[in-house]
């Protein structure tokens, strides 16, 4: 059997029922959010062993909730719904708003879900990079417990989420204090609706014009989003202005290693683009301030 031909479609009523179903079918089951990634993978013959689709629509995971400690984005929230959400108004979590604007076309954005964008572990996606820059965690619902894992750990490698037997992504959690950071996201793509050739997100803790912490993340460079720690460190205690940028760019030669080389771009081209994107992203974040 080489074609995608699942025999079963489950719509569990509870989280426990969802976990039990996933545990029963193990690798022969997959959670369906909007179905757009499943479609892409199935087209490439990668899901021929899937027997059961598990649709979480009935678990009420379609809300964005502003909690005491976290902004919680349900796994079934569509990318369009998130873009329109009050949680992103007035420049809050601007890097996420920037990333959502860059995800095209609308026909996909209306279907695709946050859970799918995160759990698919495709390194050319935009949302995981923005989420990683604001220190998001992925909430995982399992047969026996709920756990929360930083997104950069959850995305272990290309197409490899840290999902144990019976687990599914129930939400993405963004620490509340991140909402006040100055942040931005930029993307370079070959066409208006292509996946990223390179993308970059940053979030900056700025106090009285001085950068106190910087998280810089690049996508489409490695097999998972890459946290550029030396780049972030080069910005520490610098004034949030253009003069701080060259030092940060210098770190990228070493820190980006040997970026992916594929039909979209060579490794060296990606590195050049990454440097330009860092410049743009930091400038945009500086303009937004937040100190």
């Amino acid at each position: 059997m080489s074609e995608f031909s699942p025999k079963h479609y489950f719509r569990p009523e509870t989280a426990s029922e969802a976990s039990q179903t996933l545990a029963r079918y193990k690798d022969r089951s997959i959670v369906i959010g909007g179905g757009t990634v499943i479609y892409e993978l199935a087209q490439r013959g990668l899901l021929s062993d899937v027997e059961a689709l598990v649709d979480l629509t009935r678990l009420s995971l379609d809300q964005v909730k502003d909690g005491e400690k976290f902004l919680s984005i349900g796994a079934n929230v569509s990318l369009s719904y998130l873009q329109e959400s009050a949680a992103l108004r007035e420049g809050r979590l601007a890097c996420i708003g920037d990333a959502l604007k860059e995800i095209r076309p609308i026909q996909v954005k209306n279907l695709a879900t946050v859970g799918g964008a995160v759990s698919s572990c495709i390194p050319f996606f935009d949302l995981p990079v923005a989420l990683a820059s604001v220190g998001a965690n992925v909430e995982l619902n399992g047969p026996h417990a709920v756990r929360s894992v930083p997104i950069l750990e959850f995305q272990r490698d290309f197409l490899q989420p840290d999902l144990r037997e019976g687990e599914f992504v129930s939400a993405v959690l963004i620490p509340r204090q991140m909402a006040s950071r100055a942040s931005a996201f930029s993307k370079f793509a070959l066409t208006g609706d292509d996946w990223a050739t390179v993308n970059c997100a940053c979030s900056l803790e700025i106090a009285k014009g001085i950068i106190r912490e910087a998280r810089i993340v690049f996508g489409a460079i490695a097999s998972k989003p890459l946290l550029a720690e030396r780049c972030g460190a080069a910005l520490m205690n610098r004034r949030a202005e253009a003069a701080a940028i060259p030092k940060a760019i210098e770190t990228l030669d070493g820190e980006l290693g040997e970026p992916i080389s594929d039909h979209r771009a060579s490794s060296s081209y990606r590195k050049r683009v990454a440097k330009l994107l860092l410049q743009t992203t930091l400038e945009r974040a500086f303009e937004r301030g937040g100190g």
Binding site: Y39, I106, N110, L111
Partner: protein
């Protein structure tokens, strides 16, 4: 086989589907609504665009099971009274088509945009139509047709 209930153009249908069947397949092959086209069938050209609960989606990458209990609008749903809808009229008046294969998809994307935002900026129109490809007209006429709807509206107010 699973049973799925879908409201298409305000008519309720109950259809037997396999979990891998797409909405495009169900519309065209089971409900004989062939106005919705199958173009690239890889989620890239937009010829298959329909509205799902009022929002534009690619029917080729929407699994039919995801449409359970939801409202689908196809190009056939625009001409309920036998007359062309105002978007279709604008496309015809502005010659915004040549071979016509992409046109139902463009019109559905245009409908989703104008239903949500009756007075879109040119940039917003382009953003809404970025997921629809036309290989004949070069887009200028399509943009003209779409902008004319906005101007007509302005003329009335």
């Amino acid at each position: 086989m699973e049973r799925v209930r879908i409201n298409v153009n305000e008519i309720d249908h109950e259809v037997e589907v396999e979990p891998w069947m797409t909405l495009n397949f169900v519309l065209r092959e089971k409900l004989a609504l062939t106005g919705t086209k199958k173009g690239c069938d890889t989620g890239g050209c937009g010829a298959c665009t329909v509205l799902l609960d009022g929002r534009a989606v690619y029917s080729c990458m929407t699994y039919a099971m995801k449409a359970e209990g939801r409202r689908v609008t196809t190009i056939e749903g625009l001409t309920g009274d036998g007359n062309l809808d105002r978007i279709q009229t604008a496309y015809a008046e502005h010659y915004a088509l040549q071979c016509g294969y992409c046109t139902p998809g463009f019109i559905m994307s245009t409908k989703a945009l104008f239903d949500a935002n009756p007075d879109p900026l040119e940039e917003e129109i382009k953003e809404a139509l970025v997921g629809n490809l036309c290989r004949c007209t070069g887009y200028a006429k399509i943009l003209e047709a779409t902008l004319s709807m906005k101007q007509k509206r302005k003329g009335r107010t």
